[in-house]
Symmetry: C2
Subunit: 118 residues, 2 copies
Amino acid sequence: MEEKETKMLKFRGKEYPCCASLTMGIIGGKWKTVILYHLMKEKLRYNELRKSMPTVTERTLSLQLKALEEDGLIKRKVYTSKPPLKVEYSLTDFGKTLIPIIKSIAGWGDYVVENYSR
Amino acid sequence: MEEKETKMLKFRGKEYPCCASLTMGIIGGKWKTVILYHLMKEKLRYNELRKSMPTVTERTLSLQLKALEEDGLIKRKVYTSKPPLKVEYSLTDFGKTLIPIIKSIAGWGDYVVENYSR
DNA sequence: CCGTATCCTCCAGGATACTG
DNA sequence: CAGTATCCTGGAGGATACGG
């Protein structure tokens, strides 16, 4: 009679088995934390982001930005409607709640590079 | 003449464009942080881990444990050589340097569930 | 009990060309 | 400048059965 009923956590329609996997579902993937890391310091235009991330493709950057925007972590502001367009990306207030995490993630990366790089 | 030369970071033979992506390369993926999250509190046996992670498959859990062990984040200790085996997984000292990150990742997940769950 | 061995699916991310 | 539109590929992760 007893169902497994392993209390799944929900956010934006997706289910996660624990709080850690929920966070990783939102900021996981190859590029999301990198984008957030750059936007943490300052708002940036599309091309500025691209230059900060030399190995990402246009399509992938575009998709990741859209996903982050849909999850409410970043906002997209258009300044000119006539080409050349000017678009700036920045963290939302919700996105800013991630700053401590991004900082510790970046900090640990630096620590590893300094002490174990090879 | 000037090469792009975008100083890549290296760890265990892989290259990353920035410190944040290096960290995510090591603890990213669907299950690694979940495993570390459970091992952070206590060492656990294979089956205990499985029960903590009801939706992971045996094969995937096995592969992720092996990857974490290869990166030096967890250690595997075998207690009996005759079946039934007893194997315990725990964080290494290096793995323990991740505890602050895991805690903030888990904490943010909890925060989101409390304030935005739907 | 603690995994491996096979086989398979799916989609994140890449390459490239093109547009408002 | 800031993206879409197509097409494609590799590998993460899943399902299931079996082995020490």
